[in-house]
């Protein structure tokens, strides 16, 4: 079953993403920090899409993307950065690390779902 891995240290953002994506029929998996997300993937999780925050305690979002790109199972997985960060340098850093896209918080539900369908067209919703 296709799953979306959501990584953020904010419980509010996690609840928001689960509510939007779950409401649209997608199965979601949560991680409160990058290390936990990386451990889940190394333990066998095969996400069809990764949505990660930038600023997190410990490893930040772009570092997580770099690590996930090294793994065979997530080398080509679409990865979006969802953040409040506004510096162009960090956006460029994410692009170089292999991020698929950059979204600024707060992101509207309909726009997020549009982006998900665009970057992960093979991701299946339960309701579909």
């Amino acid at each position: 079953m296709h799953k979306v891995l959501i990584v953020d240290d904010s419980p509010t953002i996690l609840a928001s993403m689960v509510g939007i994506l779950g409401g649209a029929g997608y199965i979601t998996v949560k991680a409160m920090h990058a290390e936990d997300a990386l451990a889940q993937v190394q333990a066998g999780l095969r996400p069809a899409l990764v949505i990660t925050d930038y600023h997190m305690p410990g490893m930040h979002g772009v570092q997580l993307i770099q690590e996930l790109r090294k793994l065979t199972q997530t080398r080509f997985t679409p990865m979006l950065v969802l953040t409040t960060e506004s510096q162009q340098e960090k956006r460029d850093e994410a692009r170089k690390a292999g991020a698929t896209g950059w979204l600024v918080k707060p992101v509207q539900a309909d726009k997020l779902l549009q982006v998900v369908k665009q970057v992960a067209p093979s991701l299946q919703a339960i309701a579909a």
């Binding site: 509010t12 509510g19 698929t100 950059w102 707060p106």
Partner: protein, 429 residues
Amino acid sequence: MHTAAPAILKIEMKTLLISGGAGCVIGVLPLILGAAQPVHLVIAAASAVCGGLVTRALQRPAVPLPSAVPLGHQSATAASDEAAWHASQSAASRPAEGAPDVAAQGVARNVAQDLADLEPFFSVTREQLRSIVGQTEGAASAIMASLEALSAAQNRSAVCINDTRERIVGVAEQSDTALHTLARSLGTYLDGRLRETRAERSAVDAAAAQMRGLDTLIVSLEKVGASTRMLALNANIEASRAGIHGAGFKVIARELQDLAQASQTAMAEARLQVTNVQRTIGQVLTIDHGADGTRTEQERLQALMTELDSIAQTTTEVLLGMVRNDFSEIATLTGAVGNEVLSVFGQVQFQDVVRQQIEAIDESNAMLETCLDGFRQSLSGDEPEAPVRPAAILESARSRYVTQIQHRVDAQALGQATAHADAPDIELF
């Protein structure tokens, strides 16, 4: 912010009093010795006061004040400003030789200037807080609007569902009444048909009983005929015995024998006719029932089936109409509710955005607290343990900006144009 002014005034008054007092003491001695007039006392005091004021003016410290660095050039001049500010603080904190009041005045003046340098930080912080209030108000309004739309959609959905339920109940009741009426009609027909069947059977039974009665009669008549033949035979025998005297009796016997034979033949014919009549009656009853009764039954059943079809068709049409119209509207309203719920899930993200801004202001306030504590130590005559330059507070706050809103509000608070245009909120690489 302006406590240095009253302090300086106190120092000035103190100087006047001390100078005046010294002049009076000097002027009193010649007066006591008689070498001077009282006016000379006044002149001595005034001279002393003037001398004191002149001395004080000449002895004011020339400590350079930290200059306000223009925005956008702080990173380039931060190190040099920091060193100059620390040098000025050190110079102001070291009392000049023989002029502790002058040093205190210098410290106070520096503190006053530093407090004035905090003004940009307060302006920016005030605007950042107003922006946060605006963001929370906007987010709350958006959430309230979504909730109101949710409530309206839910109310319309509830009304639609209630109306549909009532219509379905009405259709069900109508169908139930019609089906009950149909069932009664069918029952009435079946009762009548049963009565007819029973009557026919009674008639058949009666006819059969009558035929059996005829059989019994025929049997009796056959017995009479048999007895008659026996009588004729016996009469013939006796007539033969009687000889010539029985000739007339022999004629009668022969007549009786003929009568018995004819009677037997008639009985056989009657039996055959009765049998034929029975068969005919049965066949006639069957034929009559199959012709008229079947036609009637067919017509009645056809009428009942037609009525049943009508009820089923009406019910189907009404239910299909409900599915097309009412349930379609309910599905639309349900979709609207779902969209509003998704919208609210997205709007609550403002909490994380505002949280980061408040955390940045909280860290700046911690630096402000350290800075003010340094002022307190300076005014107390102590060397600040970890002095924080006022401009550094705003610099530090700016280094922690993450959102475009923070940069924009910062520039607007100081009446400046935004350095960079806002990048798109969504960018796919």
